[in-house]
Symmetry: C2
Subunit: 415 residues, 2 copies
Amino acid sequence: MSSVVVMGEKAKKVSYSLAKLSTIEKNEALIKASNAILDNKEEIIKANEIDLKEAREKGIKGALLDRLALNEDRINSMAEGLKDIALLDDPIGEVISMKKRANGLVIGQKRVPLGVIGIIYEARPNVTVDGFGLCLKTGNAVILKGGKEAINSNRAIISIIQKAIEECGISKDAVQLIEDTSRESTIELMKLNKYLDVLIPRGGAGLIKSVVENSTVPVIETGAGNCHIYVDNDADIDMAVSIVTNAKTTRPGVCNSAEKLLIHKDIVEKAIKPIYESLKEKNVEVRGDEIVRKLVPEILQATEEDWKEEYLDYIIAVKTVNSIDEAIEHINEYSTKHSEAIITNNYFNSQRFLDEVDSAAVYVNASTRFTDGSEFGFGAEIGISTQKLHARGPMGLKELTSTKYIIYGNGQSRN
Amino acid sequence: MSSVVVMGEKAKKVSYSLAKLSTIEKNEALIKASNAILDNKEEIIKANEIDLKEAREKGIKGALLDRLALNEDRINSMAEGLKDIALLDDPIGEVISMKKRANGLVIGQKRVPLGVIGIIYEARPNVTVDGFGLCLKTGNAVILKGGKEAINSNRAIISIIQKAIEECGISKDAVQLIEDTSRESTIELMKLNKYLDVLIPRGGAGLIKSVVENSTVPVIETGAGNCHIYVDNDADIDMAVSIVTNAKTTRPGVCNSAEKLLIHKDIVEKAIKPIYESLKEKNVEVRGDEIVRKLVPEILQATEEDWKEEYLDYIIAVKTVNSIDEAIEHINEYSTKHSEAIITNNYFNSQRFLDEVDSAAVYVNASTRFTDGSEFGFGAEIGISTQKLHARGPMGLKELTSTKYIIYGNGQSRN
């Protein structure tokens, strides 16, 4: 048996005892692991330095290298994250509904762990800690496959966490790291239907696409964000300027940032200049159609490709639309179905936008940047689902659970 | 473009208008389709006769032929089913939760259609009608791929339904049948991620396995049932006899029938004889381990294979266990995680069984045969999910929906 299969078997076995842990036991383990990370910062930093050195030698730089890098502050914040998870309500065991049928059967639906979760991610050691914390709190076993560039950091972190939870009487099989950094082990994980209940890819579009295409285990697709803001003909222009600027420029590298701007033809003349000025001040490159380019000649020419692209950068593309219908149609055609917003004072248009835009989060008069577990009040987030099955939008602890029916009888047979 | 891709494109397009239909409009179309089926019984029966003739020529017989066959009664009951669906509450548009955040944003979670559903099934024309009705009621477009043996029946049914809904102003693209009966068209459907939101296989284990292994579209796995009944040491033997007999013999061909019986060693001597006698009276073949065979020599030898198999027949296998722990462990190892029951008078054992058995429906002192949408009060059922993602247990209308977040702001930007 391959080591991945052995890990699957161990994870399935331990999942039954994790499901039985009390909230107090889980919280104690989270706090213990948090403190162990703080107590062993140097060891983690040393391991991370090996990863960073090798990454630099391979020519990795910029954002990728930055995401891989750990320092004292970042380790403190990872450890803090585990304590935050300990403070959250435990969703396991909640009975969502219970009712008595005519024949006297009492049928309840109870929240239970998913069982065994696989997480495939890139070279971001913070996901290692996060994934462990969210899965343990929800009574799930987890198998982690992180980016190969972070293997030394991940190995150090997991060994510290495993030791800590073992001291709390929890088997180290609760959180396992696939140390084999080959692509083969990833493929094995994606076919591990016998032991794995769900697979969550966390990372860029390429990683997610590969998991969706190759996994036979059920996948929760976390998503890319080609997010739109539509400025309706009846919009407050100051509000439009402020929301567009916020949604584009506060963190252009994240998935809830605005990438496209649609403006109703009746307001474009008044709206485009102040919006352009505000974006320019933040060094945003603005691309647009002929209409906006006539109004603001500095705007660059947008192409068909622009409507599809998620820039994750200081770039935005602007399109003039003839009606709210055209805006909704354009969004449903080009959006990645993450987050979209309308800026309007019109009641009927606000309702139509909320009803007809087919995205995970649809806003009226607010920035798309709010699509986030913490902003939604979930406390923690495992990702933002852009699929419609199981979970849609920011996923908190509840989204890492399943349910089961529990039925109380007193001898009933079916006719 | 292949015809399946064209169908996907049409289905996605129509799905946006289906999502906007009012409950009244959907119910009118369901009733119209129901009446159209009643008015065109002869046409359906004629088409079905062609299918039956060809099936007989291919040597198809028994249960398979019976499932394919339509007669007046069966057509009446299919039509009745659509009227029943019209009577059910419409889940679409329900706001599940809504709350105000500290910054004034009001965040709600609203039930919406999944979008486009694919159903792959065997030669059972009733699934064609059912699939249409459940999907239309939930505002979903549906693409049906039925077993090739039923193609003439399905074609007749779909053309009647399409005409009926068109008379109600609903595009016939709302329900499309893949008429190309080749395996290639099934594979295309399983890779139609661009247009399909979910794929539901309905049929035997082989069909389901093939869809799970080959689909890149998210799948809801509906399930096989290797269901267990555990007779605890502290059980009422009369109740055990009655429930085991009910669960095994009322419809042995369905997935919620009991296939395995576990008996605690301290009660096996008293329990096995009356259980065996009752099952024998219904012509059930009983297989068992050495202990029960010593007590009832007519019981046949069970092998390791027996613990895994779903007989779907008048066969049951009996195993003696030393403890409730062994019973739970055996079930979690061999069960298909569909439905399991404990017969006990003991409070703690009932709770442990409910907590620790990892199946979609877990019963105390009742027959596993109750795992069914209508018995659970859902009115209709698209299948019974044995996976943990999205839906678990009987799936009603609610399980054919997703949610989206709707956010009401008044100019909020994120810090």
